[in-house]
Structures are given as C-alpha cells and as structure tokens.
C-alpha cells in the first residue's frame, strides 16, 4: 500500500447499512458474500465456516457457508437462523460500510429495529421464488416509519428462477406498489444471486437483461448527506464540564453531541427550557478549539455569560426556536413483551432527558398488509401504531420527519427497565 492510498483511506466516508426481509431470503448470505468479495473477512474466519471440515485452503466462495460468517451465536448456528443483529464491516477504496444483518423472524422484530435505527440505507431482500412476504411488508413499513433515507430492494435467488426477467419485473411491481401506498418513491431494485455473487460486487453473466448498477456500485454512489449551515442547530447538553482545578477554577463547558446543524463562535444561542440567551465563546476540543462545528461532532461549548444549564437542557439558535410540548403524538413500534395500553406509565428517554410519560390514547394500530388504520385498545409486541403521550414535564422536540435525533425517543418499562418502545414524534 502506498502513502497515496493511505491518505485516501483517511478521507473516506462512513455509510451505515442494514439488511432486512423475511426468514431465509438470504440476508446473512448476502453479507457473507459482500465480506468475501470486498475482502472484509479474513482467511482464518473463512476457514472457520468452510463446509468441509479439515480443508486448509479455500479455492472458491462456494466452499464456505456464507451465512455462518454473520450468524455468530451458537444458538443461531444450531438452529440455522439469525436471532440478533450482527454488525459487520467492509470497505471499498471509496467508503467504509457498517452493515447490520437483521433477523427475519417476527419474534425478533425488535432486533431488526435496533439494526435499522442507525442505518441510512436499507437493503430489503426478497426471495425471487416467494415474492413479497408478510415480513417483507412489516420490515418495509418499519423502514418507512424510521424514515430510511435510501431503500434498495434486492430480488435474490435469481438462480432459482432461471434468472427470469419477468419474475424480477413482477416482484419489482409488487414491492413498488406496496411502497407507493406509504409514499416511498425512490426504490432501487436489483436482481441478484447472493449465493453465486451475481450483481453483488460483480455483474456475472447470467442477467444480461439488467443494465442498472450492481449492489456495491449502488452502495458507493448513494449520497452521504452532510450538514448545511441552514439546518436548525440542536445541541442537547449531556454533561456540564467543571474541572474545578487550580488552573481552571471557574470553567464551565457544556458537553454534548451536535444533533443537527452547525454552530460558530460568536453565534447567539438560547437555552431551553429557561429561554436565557448567550453567545458561543469557544468550541473546545482536545486538539485545539474550533471556530465552527457541525453534527454529529461531539464538542464542548462555553458561553460568554454565566447561566444555569444542566443535563437535559438544549442549546438552539434564536432563529430556529422550539416550543415546549407536554402532550405529544407519536408513531411507535412496540417491542415490549407486555402490550402497550392506555393509562400505562413509562420512562421516556428523549435526547439526554429521561422523564415519566403516560399513554393517554391509542389513535390506531396499522395493519401491515393494507396499511389501514384499525381501532385497538392495545399494541402487542411487534405492532405498530400511533399514540398520544402526556408528559410529566415539557420537552423540546422536532418532528421525526424533520430531525431524527430530536424527534425520536424510547420508552422504558419502569419495572423491568427494558426498552419497550421506539417512538417517532409527529
């Protein structure tokens, strides 16, 4: 490797991906394939999952059990299924990818939501023999609620349907229709054989009728969005830095991760909930102060005035204010064992704030097939719906559609301490 390549490696961007879809559609196999073809897996890791024990060399990918590369738990290997998300990493000269391999079974939907919540592009796998399945729909609907910026549909196992273009077109139409019902337009559909590798990293020779990009080409060309100066500045305070040392007796810095937008030294900022104003004095970093910072940087901000600020407060700019909300409407993906019911109370964690919240109403539950809204007096595990929450104290939030970081929250069961709901503010 030359110094030049090294410099490139330093500059590459990060893209977080997730694979979803029904059981056995080939999610784990696809990731295994990507790891092998991008050399993201090491030889000894490949040898550990070869089909014939005792071999010490691997001549082709056909000799390894690709799914075994990601199904890392003993229970998964025993049952031949994926139970929890596996995170795997691979890189091309242009980008580094974090890939979350999700389970397909309905009972493990919560793990799928875990994998999908941090991704900015999702690959929905569909077995070409079966077409769109109920789990394909559930996952697609969850991705739509999560506001997944890019959706890629991989119609897999094309080798099992003679690489037939008509089959591909039919499934493409079905999934496009289902997505259109919820307002998703820009679908990228790719025919593929994860097992043989066709249209994953290489085109292969079996589907000359397809002239779109391969999956890897798609990964490399998806836009990775940066932060624009115009975006609303949101800075939830995580901690107050007060060294109280001999050289820094009165220092007070506000530590946090910029949730969105940019901030400059000299910017006028306002503290929520107190409404006090001040000016950014310094943006402190270990390697030297910055003039300007942007999401998702983790920084420490000092202000020109001494005002009372603590964890859970938020710094915003005066030109992009937020109103306090004591009652919120949200979409929730219920992932608790016990159903969500009106009058039940939960802990809600929103940015760096944890507060009590009570469910006042379930507006509806969504049927994942028809996407129709049904009346319901509870949301059971893996169900999705819209609810009303009453909060013990006001929060300052954007809508999820406008801001993933300040529009999302989790619900925590006060008795078990488990995370039971994924909420998206409307």
């Amino acid at each position: 490797m030359t110094e030049l390549n090294l410099e490139l490696t330093k500059e590459i961007e990060l893209l977080r991906l997730v694979t979803v879809g029904s059981v056995d559609d080939g999610k784990s196999t696809l990731i295994g394939r990507l790891l092998v073809d991008t050399k993201g897996a090491f030889e000894d890791q490949l040898l550990a999952v070869r089909k014939k024990k005792g071999e010490t060399k691997i001549a082709s990918a056909a000799e390894i059990d690709l799914a075994m590369l990601t199904d890392g738990l003993s229970a998964e290997r025993e049952q031949g299924i994926t139970i929890d998300v596996a995170y795997r990493y691979f890189a091309t000269p242009k980008r580094k990818f974090i890939m979350a391999d999700c389970p397909g079974h309905e009972q493990y939907t919560r793990n799928m939501v875990t994998g999908a919540s941090t991704a900015s592009a999702a690959i929905i796998l569909i077995d070409a023999r079966n077409g769109v399945m109920p789990q394909t729909k559930r996952h697609t609907h969850i991705l739509s609620l999560l506001g997944m910026p890019h959706l890629i549909v991989a119609i897999n196992k094309m080798d099992m349907v003679d690489h037939d273009q008509a089959t591909f077109e039919r499934i493409r139409q079905d999934i496009t229709d289902y997505c259109a019902m919820q307002g998703i337009k820009d679908l990228i559909c790719i025919p593929m054989s994860a097992l043989n590798g066709d249209m994953v990293a290489v085109r292969g020779e079996n589907m000359p009728w397809y002239d779109g990009p391969t999956l890897l080409e798609t990964f490399e060309s998806l836009p990775v969005l940066g932060q624009l100066d115009e975006q609303a500045f949101r800075f939830p305070v995580q901690l107050v830095n007060r060294p109280q040392t001999a050289d820094l007796p009165d220092y007070r810095g506000f530590m946090g991760t910029i949730a969105s937008g940019t901030v400059k030294v000299g910017d006028k900022v306002m503290v929520l909930p107190t409404g006090k104003s001040s000016t950014v004095k310094e943006i402190v970093m270990f390697d030297g102060n910055l003039d300007e910072a942007f999401a998702p940087q983790s920084v420490t901000i000092t202000l020109t005035d001494e005002i009372d600020i603590s964890r859970g407060d938020m710094l915003v700019r005066g030109d992009s204010m937020l109103e306090p909300q004591k009652e919120i409407t949200a979409n929730v993906c219920w992932i608790g064992d016990e159903p969500l019911e009106p009058r039940k109370k939960y802990w809600m964690k929103h940015t760096t704030n944890t507060l009590k919240a009570m469910v006042t109403d379930i507006d509806f539950k969504t049927d994942i097939h028809s996407l129709e809204h049904e009346q319901s007096d509870q949301l059971a595990m893996n169900e999705i719906g819209q609810i009303q929450l009453k909060l013990l104290k006001p929060i300052y939030a954007d809508t999820y559609a406008n801001n993933r970081a300040t529009g999302s929250f989790i619900l925590i069961d006060g008795f078990t301490n488990n995370t039971v709901g994924a909420g998206m503010i409307i």
């Binding site: 090294l6 590369l69 580094k96």
Partner: protein, 302 residues
C-alpha cells in the same frame, strides 16, 4: 451554502465520545478497563478527549494476570503517570498463589481464573455499575452481536439471546441494583481504524507492536515470545530463536503469538494491516475452539 461532512474516523470518534459521556452522565460509579493494548490505548485517548480540559472522571482498572509482557507493565505505569490517570491494578491473588498457569492447567482454566474471575472480583470489590471495555465487533463473531451497552446480571453474565434493543443513539442506562453494564464505545471500529487513528493522533502504544528482532519459540504456525522467566513454558524440543517480529494484539505472554513482520513505524503497520489476510485474533490461543469467546462472555469475560 457550504456542506460539512466528517471523515469516517472522525465520525467514529464522535460516536465513541458520545457514548463515553452518556455513561458518565447516567451511572453512579463507572470504571474503564485498561488492558494496556492498542484498543485500550485508543479508548483511553477518546476518554481524555471526551472530558478535556477536565481530568478523567473515572479510574482505570487493569485486571492483571501476572503473565503480561514486561514491556506492558513498564508502559502502563509510565503512561498513566504521564497523563495523571488513576490506575487500579487487581489480580486474582488466590489463583496466582496456587501457581495457576496455562501450561499445567490449560488455557481455558487459566483464563477463567485469572481473567474472568479476576475481573468479576475486581468489579464487585469496586462496586462499579458500568465498566468500559475496548472490545470491537470486528474482532470475533460473537462480539459482532453485542450491544454497545451490554447488560450483565448479578453474576456478570451476558445473555446473548435476550439483549436489550438499542435504538438510534439513545442508550438505556437503567438497571436494577446488583446489575451492571459493560460498555463498548469502540464497537464500530475495525482493526484498520484503530491503527489509522493511532497514527493520525500519535497515540503512544507499547513498543511490542513495532517489529524488532526478538527471541521467539516457533510452535506450529505460531511465534511465541520467549522470556528467561518463562522458560519452564518451553515444550520438549523447543528452542528460542531471534526472529524479526511484532504483535498485532497483546495479551498474556505465554498465550499471545507474534507475527513475522518488518513494520517498524506506524505507516508500515497500517500498510501491513491493510494487506493482512488473517485476523488478529488468530494470534490469541484463548480464542481457538468452537464457541470459546461466546462461552467466556456468558461467564462474565469481556
């Protein structure tokens, strides 16, 4: 209109700092496990960055087995002093007094006593409710499955089939009395990221990571470092030889292999990491065997 973007290393750095700060905000008594290796060095560096200009708000805990390389002890003591970190060293003294070693008792038993039990005892003694560790998901396939906040029961055990959902970057730090979390802020870093970051940031690391002529025992495909003090670990017919070599990962001297290498500086190490076809864990004897890492983690190991 200008667009601002982070490079992937800076994005990883920001995520790690966010996690470290969240733990300090939500837990009563966190501690950072410090193994003196490269991942620990990066983790410690991130923690210093997170709280700058304040000192670290938690102690470092080194669970020592007595079998670490002497270069590691030297480095540990000097570096912690230099940065003013509060270092706690704990060992399973009972087992050490009874002469626990990998050659006579087997690697699994030795690790179980000196590392897992040593760690569990030290965590209990300190009453820590959160312990940071430098494990990465790319190291091993069961680690690839673990959450950033990894819940542990009263016995420090991991239940991989029943992990808490972890949504967005909102971490649920609520636990019951007696339970604890292991937190892995560098979960999403790969070995390559670690080396690149060490190079970029100029983070000091133990000299054993750089290639040098060193006395080694060749055992099968492995290079095992030879030390006068450990000569009773030699097997029949083995003889130490001087070999140009370095370590990709550091553990206990009888159980950590070296690799043949001529990489004497960070640029060469990064180049070697980029070209590597075998994983770093291959040089760790403890990881060999069907489920060894998962089993050990269930028992309370990192």
């Amino acid at each position: 209109m200008s667009e601002h973007k982070l490079t992937q290393l800076k994005a990883l750095e920001a995520e790690s700092i966010h996690i470290i700060r969240e733990v300090v905000a939500e837990f009563r008594n966190p501690v950072m496990l410090y193994s003196v290796g490269k991942d620990s060095s990066v983790l410690l560096h991130l923690a210093r960055k997170a709280f700058y200009p304040a000192p670290l708000p938690f102690s470092l805990l080194h669970v020592d087995t007595g079998f670490k390389f002497k270069e590691m002890y030297e480095f540990r003591d000097n570096y912690c002093k230099e940065i003013g970190a509060d270092l706690i060293v704990r060992r399973n003294e009972d087992a050490i007094a009874k002469g626990m070693n990998p050659k006579d008792h087997g690697v699994a038993r030795c690790c179980g006593a000196l590392k897992t039990q040593g760690l569990l005892d030290a965590l209990e003694e300190g009453g820590y409710d959160a312990a940071f560790g430098g494990a990465r998901r790319d190291e091993e396939r069961s680690r690839a499955k673990e959450r950033v906040f990894s819940m542990r029961d009263e016995f420090g055990q991991w239940d991989p089939k029943n992990q808490r959902p972890e949504l967005w970057s909102i971490y649920n730090g609520r636990i019951h009395e007696g339970e604890s979390v292991r937190v892995f802020p560098i979960s999403n870093w790969t070995e390559m990221d670690i080396w690149l970051y060490i190079k970029e940031e100029g983070i000091p690391i133990v000299p054993l990571y750089f290639a040098k002529e060193r006395p080694m025992i060749e055992r099968g495909e492995m290079l095992i470092p030879y030390y006068e003090e450990n000569k009773d670990q030699l097997l029949e017919g083995e003889e130490p030889k001087m070999i140009m070599s370095r370590f990709r990962t550091l553990g206990c001297s009888p159980c950590t292999g070296a690799v043949r290498s001529s990489a004497v500086n960070m640029t060469e190490i990064v180049a070697e990491a980029a070209a590597a076809r075998r994983s770093e864990r291959e040089t760790r004897i403890i990881d060999h065997g069907a489920n060894s890492m998962e089993d050990k983690k269930k028992e309370g190991y990192f």
